[in-house]
């Protein structure tokens, strides 16, 4: 049995596949944490005020005792700052309801916004505040949308996917602009004190794009951004909650330190935790997953304890078979629903089960 470790020691050990006292855990509690601030703030307040945003992660850490803190706001930050209209409902994740790309000519009109203004600035400042506050407790990371995701939010997914086929040069022009926008954000995140930066490369999904399209429209830009991220001293992390992620590209090629993913049991092509480990993807990256996020909303505490226990046992067995020591973080496959009806006790239950059942005999 390994001696008790701090969160940071445990996280670092897991990243290096060293022995741990127990597996790491980080249910992806982001927007839901706004309920812990001042008795609960609205999504609009939370996503516009860096202090409220940061405080939610600080309160989440106090309440749940996570092993990591990663600062996702929502997936309309970049599109909104590019000029798209973002709808803010009181308790709903903000989303783009009016796109800014309507014709192929609109792609070249995109301009990199000033990241010291808008919600880009809120995201950077909020990340800085929670990264500074939690730097002695956990490994922290910012969160940013990849260029293809940000473009799909600006154009609408259907418009964009059509233009991949019909107007590829216009799309590439826009992706160059968004890569520049992302580059400036990377430089901003490098000043926050966060240890890593988590990229959302959502469209690396075989339900949407094949290898050829994905390489053409994202991988070439992602390589540049991943390199810049590392050059700026940040660990590259990736989140992809798609059902059939491009694991070879996003893990073997991109070589992230952490790869967060989901599992869709109804889809036979969706890889389970044990399959991901058996196929060697945890050999070089700390894999995070894959509790069904909906269980936090609709499941009872007993149900989520059972689900957590099952995935923990599955992971421990698979790691042992593969000869790995610690390269899996018990997490939700995607963000915990930030809904007001999400059962907060279910978040604590996941952490509690991993603390009790996540130890590994070496």
């Amino acid at each position: 049995m390994t001696k008790p470790l701090t969160h940071i020691e445990r996280g670092l050990a897991a990243l290096q596949n060293e022995p741990v006292d127990r597996l790491t855990t980080y249910p992806l509690a982001m927007g839901v944490n706004r309920r812990l601030v001042n008795g609960g703030v609205t999504y609009r307040e939370w996503a516009h005020d860096p202090k409220l945003y940061a405080q939610s992660f600080i309160e989440g850490q106090k309440k749940y005792d996570f092993d990591f803190a990663i600062g996702l706001m929502d997936l309309s930050v970049m599109a909104g700052d590019l000029g798209a209209h973002v709808r803010f409902d009181q308790e709903n994740t903000p989303f783009v309801d009016k796109h800014i790309i309507h014709d192929p000519e609109d792609y070249e009109k995109l301009e990199v916004p000033d990241i010291t203004k808008g919600r880009s600035a809120v995201l950077l400042e909020g990340t800085k505040l929670f990264a500074q506050a939690l730097k002695n407790d956990v490994i922290t990371a910012g969160f940013v949308e990849g260029p293809l995701l940000a473009l799909s939010q600006s154009a609408g997914a259907e418009r964009l996917f059509l233009d991949l086929a019909l107007n590829p040069s216009a799309v590439h022009g826009a992706l160059e602009t968004l890569t520049e926008y992302d580059s400036r954000l990377v430089e901003g995140f490098a000043e926050t004190g966060a240890a890593g930066l988590c990229w959302d490369y959502l469209w690396g999904n075989y339900s949407c794009l094949g290898d050829a399209e994905y390489h053409e429209f994202e991988a070439q830009y992602a390589h540049k951004l991943n390199k810049l991220t590392r050059d700026k001293g940040l660990a590259v992390c990736i989140h992809n909650c798609a059902d059939m992620p491009h694991l070879d590209t996003q893990i073997k090629e991109y070589k992230p330190a952490i790869y967060s993913m989901a599992y869709y049991p109804f889809n036979p092509d969706s890889p389970s935790a044990s399959k991901v480990i058996a196929d060697g993807y945890a050999d070089d990256a700390l894999i995070g997953g894959n509790i069904d996020p909906q269980l936090f909303l609709s499941g009872t505490e007993a149900q989520i304890r059972k689900a957590t226990s099952e995935v923990t046992q599955e992971v421990k067995t698979a790691l042992c078979k593969r000869g790995l020591k610690s390269r899996y973080c018990i997490a939700s496959g995607c963000e915990i629903p930030p809904d007001v009806a999400t059962r907060l006790e279910n978040i604590g239950a996941v952490v509690d089960v991993v603390k009790k059942e996540g130890s590994i005999q070496y």
């Binding site: 783009v96 059509l162 086929a165 019909l166 075989y206 949407c208 794009l209 109804f266 909906q294 629903p337």
Partner: protein, 212 residues
């Protein structure tokens, strides 16, 4: 050009994502006396079914499906108005909608295309559709299936509201309800009393073929 050659031209245009060719082939079909329904089923729908199969087998991806669906609709724009009154396009009808509070409709639009390719008629109620509109359209247009979807967790409640509304109005027993979208789980589907849950269009069409 023989009838078979015209139908193949239409089908190939859909497979290859050529809207102008699909339109041209559909016009040629009408000029040459091909019945519109035959041109739809043996040309447009046949082509889209090939694309759907390739999509299911991961030999084609969203961009290809979308440009093929453009060709499908280009042909339908020509052929649907030419159908003689009283001759129905399809016996069974599916209404599709993204529920109130959500504007993400790419999934709904893919589903719509593949349902048409499956040989059914589709009533597209749109996106961010108020619950009252879903209920009114269901009762007035009388689809065999009502397919409701959302991409976001909070708006799943709008799906629940629509199903509850159908129960309250007494219409629930007259329509099959299917639900879908990334956050929609089987548990949620069971809780609200839906008849079916799917998270991809291919399986949904397979289910339609079982129940309709």
């Amino acid at each position: 050009m023989s009838k078979e050659e015209i139908l193949k031209k239409i089908s190939d245009a859909v497979v290859n994502g050529k809207p102008a060719v699909a339109k041209e082939g559909s016009e040629e079909a009408l000029k040459n006396g091909v019945r519109p329904i035959e041109a739809i089923n043996d040309g447009l729908v046949r082509g889209m079914a090939i694309v759907g199969d390739r999509f299911a087998q991961h030999q084609a991806y969203l961009p290809q499906v979308l440009i093929s669906s453009q060709a499908l609709y280009a042909g339908l724009d020509v052929l649907l108005p030419a159908i003689p009154k009283g001759e129905s396009v399809a016996k069974k009808t599916v209404a599709v909608a993204v529920v109130e509070g959500d504007v993400h409709d790419i999934g709904k639009n893919i589903l719509k295309t593949l349902i048409i390719a499956g040989g059914y008629q589709v009533i597209d109620l749109g996106r961010d559709v108020p619950t009252e509109e879903v209920l009114a359209a269901t009762e007035s247009k009388k689809p065999d299936v009502l397919a409701l979807s959302t991409l976001m967790t909070p708006t799943m409640l709008s799906i629940r509201d629509a199903v509850d509304g159908l129960k309250e109005s007494g219409y629930r027993s007259k329509v099959l309800v299917a639900v879908g979208g990334a956050p929609v789980s089987q548990t949620f589907s069971d809780e609200i009393g839906a008849d079916h849950k799917d998270n991809d269009a291919i399986h949904h069409v397979a289910w339609l073929k079982e129940v309709l």
